[in-house]
C-alpha cells in the first residue's frame, strides 16, 4: 500500500491563503500546523495572531485563536497562559508588531520568562500597511518611509531581536531560521517544534525568528526574494541558535523533584 507522504496538516483549514505569491507567512502557518499535528496538541493550543498581514491567521490555523491589538500579543498570551497553564499558547508576530510598537510587551514577557512560544516573522518591512520601514529594515534598504534607504543616523540600525532577547535571563530558547529553501524550511519546522516542546515541558519563554520573503513590498519576484534572504538579509540577521537552556533547565527540574 502506498504511504501518504504529503497532505494538508489536520490543523490547517481547507482554505486558500490570501497571502501574496511568494510570501513566507503561508509557509510559516503550514509549519505551525504540522508541528501542532506532530505533537498532537490541536485541542489544547491557543494562538494569538497580530495586527499585520497575519491578522487573518485564524482563517487558516484550525486552533483556538484571539487577535491581539497591534503589538500586544505577548501580553495577551501571558494572560491566557497564566489563566490556563496547561494550554499551549503562542503569539505570532511581525517585525513591526514585535520590535516596534510591541517591543515593551515582548521584552517583558520574555524577561518574566512566560511559558509561551513566540513565532516572529521578520520580513524587514511593514507588510500589511504597504511596505514602510520596519525596525528590522536593513541599512540602505529602500521602503516607502525610507525613500532614500534606511540611514543609520536618521533611522537607527536594524533591530536584532534574537541576539538582543537572548541576553534576557528569563529566556530559555531562541533560534533564527529562514523559509527560503526546502532545507531551511525543515530547519524552521524543527525550531518551531522545539519551541512548543519547550513550553510543553514547562521550560519557559522561547522565540523562533523566521526570515521571511515579502516579494510584493520588496518589489522583487519570489525567486529573487529567496536569493535576497541568502545574499543580503541573512548577513545582517545570521541564522542560528542564540540561546538554548533547555538541557540545563531540564536537569535543574529533575534535581528539584
Amino acid at each position: 500500500m502506498a504511504k501518504k507522504v504529503f497532505g494538508r496538516p489536520k490543523s490547517l483549514k481547507d482554505k486558500i491563503f490570501h497571502y501574496c505569491p511568494g510570501c513566507g507567512h503561508s509557509i510559516a502557518h503550514r509549519l505551525i500546523a504540522e508541528v501542532i499535528d506532530e505533537l498532537d496538541i490541536r485541542g489544547i493550543t491557543i494562538g494569538v495572531p497580530p495586527a499585520g498581514c497575519a491578522v487573518l491567521a485564524y482563517n487558516y490555523l484550525d486552533v483556538d485563536m484571539i487577535e491581539a491589538p497591534h503589538g500586544r500579543g505577548p501580553a495577551m498570551a501571558s494572560g491566557i497562559k497564566r489563566t490556563l497553564p496547561d494550554r499551549i499558547v503562542f503569539s505570532y508576530q511581525g517585525d513591526g508588531d514585535l520590535a516596534a510598537i510591541g517591543i515593551a510587551e515582548s521584552f517583558h514577557a520574555a524577561n518574566r520568562g512566560e511559558n509561551i512560544s513566540v513565532i516572529f516573522i521578520n520580513n524587514a518591512v511593514y507588510g500589511m500597511t504597504g511596505g514602510q520601514m520596519a525596525p528590522t529594515t536593513i541599512l540602505n534598504q529602500k521602503t516607502t518611509t525610507s525613500p532614500a534607504g534606511r540611514h543609520k543616523i536618521l533611522d537607527g540600525y536594524p533591530v536584532k531581536v534574537s541576539e538582543f532577547f537572548s541576553q534576557l535571563e528569563g529566556v530559555t530558547y531562541i533560534e533564527r531560521c529562514m523559509v527560503n529553501s526546502p532545507t531551511n524550511i525543515n530547519k524552521t519546522r524543527k525550531a518551531i517544534k522545539k519551541s512548543f516542546q519547550c513550553q510543553m515541558d514547562g521550560m519557559g519563554f522561547s522565540l523562533v525568528e523566521i526570515l521571511s520573503p515579502c516579494p510584493t513590498n520588496w518589489k522583487m519576484n519570489p525567486i529573487d526574494s529567496c536569493k535576497w534572504i541568502d545574499e543580503v538579509m541573512s548577513k545582517t540577521f545570521p541564522p542560528g541558535v542564540f540561546k538554548d537552556n533547555t538541557a540545563s533547565v531540564k536537569k535543574a527540574a529533575e534535581g528539584a523533584s
Binding site: A51, V55, Y126, G130, Q132, M133, T144, T145, S146, P147
Partner: protein, 352 residues
C-alpha cells in the same frame, strides 16, 4: 495660484509643510499611510524638517510634544486605533498647553475594526478623548480644498490658544483626489516665552502637567476652562446650505455632509425643501447657530456614519425646540445620496 490634483492625505502633508510644520512623527496605519509617506519624502527637502517613523503612536505623540515644547510647528497623524493610543499624550499636551496638530483619518471600529471610512470617533474627538478636564479644537473638513485650508488654520489656532488641534476626516477624504489651491500661509505668531531653548545665562523655565497642590490644579483647570470658553466664543465655524426655505434640515459633517448635499439636490428636484447644516468645528460645536435655525425649522435629521454620536450635540443644541430624527451607517459603510434621499423623503411626508 496653481490648481493641483492631489489626494487628501498628501494635501494635509503639503499644507502642513507650507504652514511651517517642521516636525512630524507617525506610525503606519491604513488609511492614512500616504500622509506618513508624504512626510518621509518631503520633510527631508524642507529646511530643518524632521521626519521620524516612531515605534508606536504613543511614542509619536510624545515626540511631537517634545518638539512643540522646543518651539517647532508639529504634527502627527494616524487612524482610529492609533488615535486611541495617542490620548494620554494629547491630554498631556492640553495640560502643558503645547500646540500641535493631530490628524485622525477615521476608519471603522471599535477595536481593529476595518479600514473603510467611518465617523465613529466623534465622541473621542469632541469630549477630550483622554483623561482629565480638557478639550481639543476639532476641524471636520468635507472637501480636499477644506483639508488644505483647515490644516493651515489649525496651526494658527494651535499657536494662538496653545492647545492641540485635531483634524477629523475619514478614509474617503484621505484617499480621494480633488483639485486644490494652496493659500498663502499666515506668518507664525508665537512667543518665545513658551519655548524651551535652554536657560543660557538667564532664568530657567519649566513646563509641567503634574500639579500636586489641589488649589494649583483647580486654578489650572479653571484657567483652561476660561481658554475653552474664549475659543467657543471666537472660533465656531459652520456651513448652511439651502436653509432659507427649508422645511427639514439635515445635520451632517465631513463625508456625510457631502452625501447629504447630493441627497438634497435630488430632493429639491422633487419639490422637497430640504437644507443642510454642516458643523465645520465639531468642538466648539455651533450650538447657538443651530438653535437659531429652530425658530423656523421644526424638523431635523442627523445623519452620521456612526450609530449616532453628534446626535447628542444636536439634542443639546435644539433643547426640545424641534423634532430630531436620525439616520446612521456605522462600521465603514458609505451610503449613497439616493439612499439618504429616500430616508429623507419618507420623513418629509410627515412634515407639516
Amino acid at each position: 495660484m496653481n490648481k493641483v490634483l492631489m489626494s487628501g492625505n498628501n494635501i494635509i502633508g503639503e499644507a502642513a509643510i507650507r504652514a511651517g510644520c517642521r516636525f512630524y512623527a507617525g506610525y503606519p496605519i491604513t488609511p492614512q499611510n500616504e500622509l506618513t509617506e508624504y512626510m518621509a519624502e518631503h520633510m527631508r527637502n524642507a529646511e530643518d524638517g524632521v521626519f521620524i517613523q516612531s515605534e508606536s503612536e504613543i511614542a509619536a505623540i510624545n515626540m511631537v510634544a517634545g518638539a512643540s515644547a522646543a518651539g517647532a510647528r508639529v504634527m502627527t497623524s494616524s487612524s482610529s486605533p492609533g488615535i486611541s493610543l495617542k490620548q494620554e499624550g494629547i491630554s498631556s499636551m492640553a495640560a502643558c498647553e503645547l500646540p500641535g496638530i493631530i490628524v485622525n483619518i477615521m476608519r471603522g471600529g471599535p477595536g481593529l475594526g476595518n479600514i473603510r471610512p467611518s465617523q465613529g470617533d466623534y465622541f473621542q474627538a469632541t469630549r477630550g478623548g483622554g483623561h482629565g478636564d480638557y478639550r481639543t479644537i476639532v476641524f471636520a473638513p468635507a472637501t480636499c480644498q477644506e483639508l488644505a485650508d483647515l490644516t493651515m488654520d489649525a496651526f494658527d489656532l494651535a499657536d494662538k490658544y496653545r492647545t492641540p488641534v485635531m483634524i477629523l476626516a475619514d478614509g474617503m477624504m484621505g484617499q480621494m483626489m480633488e483639485p486644490v489651491i494652496f493659500k498663502k500661509p499666515k506668518k507664525r505668531i508665537y512667543s518665545d516665552d513658551f519655548i524651551l531653548k535652554g536657560a543660557g545665562n538667564g532664568k530657567s523655565k519649566f513646563i509641567r502637567g503634574l500639579l500636586l497642590d489641589v488649589i494649583d490644579e483647580e486654578e489650572h483647570n479653571w484657567k483652561l476652562a476660561r481658554k475653552y470658553s474664549v475659543i467657543t466664543k471666537n472660533e465656531i465655524r459652520r456651513e448652511e446650505h439651502q436653509i432659507e426655505d427649508a422645511q427639514l434640515v439635515i445635520v451632517a459633517y465631513g463625508t456625510a455632509a457631502r452625501i447629504a448635499k447630493g441627497a438634497i439636490k435630488r430632493l429639491r428636484e422633487n419639490g422637497m425643501k430640504v437644507g443642510l447644516f454642516r458643523p465645520i468645528t465639531l468642538w466648539p460645536f455651533p450650538e447657538l447657530q443651530l438653535r437659531a435655525l429652530a425658530a423656523n425649522v421644526k424638523n431635523f435629521l442627523v445623519f452620521e456614519m456612526s450609530t449616532g454620536q453628534m446626535l447628542d450635540d444636536v439634542r443639546l443644541s435644539l433643547q426640545g425646540y424641534a423634532h430630531i430624527d436620525f439616520h446612521g451607517r456605522p462600521g465603514g459603510a458609505v451610503p449613497t445620496p439616493a439612499e439618504l434621499a429616500n430616508v429623507v423623503a419618507r420623513l418629509y411626508e410627515k412634515v407639516d
